[in-house]
């Protein structure tokens, strides 16, 4: 079983559209099947294409949250002084979204007014989709611990894949290079970097490529929105060559992606002859790079 993580550094480069298309190709071509994991728990969108039917829902509880009992609080100010996260207000209540659950306030409170309580951060789901099982999650609004929730999603997806003998776990990652991205990368066989021509996207590609290198995970790239700026595209290609980054394919800047999204379809389903064929090419490059077992011979 292999794990492919789709990342981009920059948001909006097309991670989810590419993931959905690869999911359709994988469901069609892999004898053992594919398990999907939406690790963009902050702003999950893969479900808008895969239309999951939830068969298991779990509350995600992680870490702690401080609360101050106003009846016991003497307003001495110790907690306010010691909290390094500005989570205690001047009138001694807790700003939940700033509390790291470290317990400093509880330790320094002389009157026992602070209680640390288990903290609900979100929910996670195991679902059925037309491509195969999918693990996904919804972080509560403004909640912490997205990295830990990503780890939970990844572990559940790995377990499902092992149980069902799936050949591939396909992970839709989040933008950036911080904790949710690092959590989604852990233990991956390879990372597919979706980029687009442009100074911002190239800047972000360099950062996420450095991150993949840092964790020694082999990387492939897809250049989306090709044709948008030929000069910037050449720059991206030169960078890929310089870094020995295999470009698995190019996708034209095509309204078909949005139209497929409007219909809740992947482009492999929506436009199999056009964009779908381009995606198939990328899929073939990915499978050979990953040395995926269980790929059916296609006509």
């Amino acid at each position: 079983m292999k794990t492919l993580v789709v990342l981009s550094g920059k948001g909006g480069a097309g991670k989810t559209s590419v993931t959905a298309a690869l999911a359709a190709a994988a469901a069609r071509d892999l004898s053992g099947g594919v398990v999907l994991a939406d690790c963009d728990v902050d702003a999950a969108d893969l479900h808008l294409v895969t239309a999951p039917e939830v068969r298991r829902e779990e509350v995600f509880i992680q870490g702690e949250l401080a609360s101050i009992d106003p009846d016991l609080c003497t307003q001495c100010g110790e907690c306010l002084e010691h909290c390094r996260f500005h989570a205690v207000t001047e009138d001694f209540s807790i700003r939940e979204e700033h509390c790291e659950g470290c317990g400093v306030c509880e330790a320094v409170c002389p009157s026992g007014a602070v209680r640390m309580e288990p903290r609900r951060c979100g929910r996670w789901f195991v679902s059925d989709t037309r491509f195969g099982p999918m693990v996904h999650a919804a972080l509560d609004i403004g909640a912490e611990n997205s990295g830990k929730l990503v780890t939970t999603v990844r572990k559940q997806a790995d377990r499902l894949a092992e149980e069902s003998g799936a050949d591939l776990v396909l992970v839709d990652g989040s933008p950036g290079i911080g904790c949710p991205v690092i959590a989604s990368l852990t233990g991956a066989s390879a990372v597919l970097l979706v980029t687009e021509p442009g100074v911002a996207a190239l800047h972000d590609l360099r950062r996420v490529m450095d991150l993949a290198d840092h964790f020694r995970i082999p990387a492939l790239a897809v250049c989306n929105k090709a044709g948008q700026s030929p000069a910037r595209e050449a720059e991206t290609e030169a960078y890929a060559e310089e870094r020995g980054l295999l470009v698995a394919g190019r996708l034209p800047n095509d309204a078909g992606f949005v139209r497929a999204q409007e219909r809740g379809l992947s482009v492999v389903e929506y436009d199999p002859e056009g964009l779908g064929a381009e995606l198939d090419e990328i899929w073939r490059n990915v499978t050979s790079q990953l040395q995926l077992r269980g790929v059916k011979q296609c006509g």
Binding site: G12, A13, G101, C102, L139, G176, I177, G178, Q261
Partner: protein
């Protein structure tokens, strides 16, 4: 070593929030000025707005749930037109994982880099009671300390820098070391000051560096200047830290199914944080423009502007150039947007 991040910005926006909620309840709230107002009207309005806007602590955040919808593009162009009006904006690029705003200010280069650190514990083994005590190991919520072969070992990468280990140690064996989290730098270009932060590769936690970026932006701002926060995507800690202390939030949206879904998450976050906001729809003709309009009506949010998707605009943005400088139509639209935003902020103050 720099002091641990205590920067942040005090949340003093409660009154503003109440006022904005009242304002948002009125029909037509957030609408800048009559669409048919002439240039003279506009100039008069802008002068008046400048004198009325409480700019000393005016903080405008640009946010979105989804990445790639054009937050940075809107932020840099808005900063440009605000600077052209003499408002001396300071733009804080709070997306320290993938900072991009500086790319739009070429050839100006970021300079005066400052490194930033978070405090992590260092154990004095001469003093430490080791396995016999383990008070720090037991207290640490982040498993950043481990008892190994009789000694206590810190794992700096897991440390949140809360200081609890030092508080609970009965013998004062916990000293302070530091972990490098990244750096900040700034540039100035034709009246826009930009403060940018870049997180070290492999560092997982963005909020401490975001607080440094915001603190430095506040340092850079003139007393009657305007602060703009270009926020990272998503709705968890980096976005929350970036939005902290904002007076008003401009949500950048995109009329695709993904775009509107994630806009919904961003609006939920604003409600949660009790922040007033409005929407600008980018690439309005790319999906179904009605989708964003309908959303704004349903959620009671002013839609301040719609920006068209054109091949030329995409290329200018991809090249890291400013739409407000290069395409007259966009220059006008951003100018109108600036008026609308200032007006909305004034209403919220």
């Amino acid at each position: 070593m720099d002091a641990p991040a205590r920067g942040g910005v005090p949340a003093d926006a409660e009154q503003a929030v109440d006022a904005a909620r009242d304002a948002a309840a009125e029909p037509g709230a957030g609408k800048a000025r009559p669409a048919d107002a002439g240039d003279a009207d506009r100039a008069a309005w802008d002068v008046a707005a400048r004198s009325r806007v409480r700019t000393t602590d005016m903080r405008l955040a640009l946010a979105s749930g989804k990445g790639g919808v054009g937050k940075t593009c809107v932020a840099v162009n808005l900063a440009r037109v605000l600077a052209d009006r003499g408002l001396r904006p300071v733009l804080a690029d709070c997306d320290v994982e993938e900072p991009n705003a500086h790319l739009f200010f070429g050839p100006a280069e970021l300079n005066r880099a400052r490194d930033h650190f978070v405090p992590v514990p260092e154990i004095d083994n001469e003093v430490c009671l080791g396995d016999a005590c383990r008070a720090c190991v037991n207290a640490c919520r982040f498993k950043a300390l481990l008892a190994m072969a009789g000694e206590i070992m810190p794992f700096p990468e897991l440390c949140h820098g809360c200081g609890l280990c030092g508080i609970v140690c009965p013998v004062g064996a916990v000293g302070s070391s530091s972990r490098h989290i990244g750096h900040t730098a700034e540039l100035e270009s034709e009246g826009v000051r930009l403060v940018s932060g870049e997180m070290r590769i492999g560092e997982a936690m963005a909020p401490p560096l975001i607080r440094e970026v915001k603190a430095r932006a506040l340092e850079a701002a003139d007393e009657d200047g305007l602060l703009l926060y270009d926020c990272p995507p998503g709705g968890s800690c980096p976005a929350v830290t970036s939005l902290d202390g904002a007076d008003f939030v401009l949500l950048v949206a995109e009329p695709t199914p993904f775009g509107v879904h994630d806009l919904g998450l961003a609006v939920d976050l604003l409600h949660h944080l009790e922040l007033p906001g409005a929407v600008v729809c980018n690439r309005a003709d790319m999906g179904d423009p009605e989708r964003v309009r309908r959303f704004c009506r349903e959620r009671g949010l002013p839609l301040l502007a719609e920006l068209p998707a054109t091949a030329r605009a995409a290329e200018v943005c991809a090249d890291g150039r400013l739409l407000a400088r290069e395409i007259p139509d966009f220059s006008e639209r951003f100018d109108d947007l600036a008026s609308a935003v200032l007006h909305s902020m004034e209403g919220a103050a």
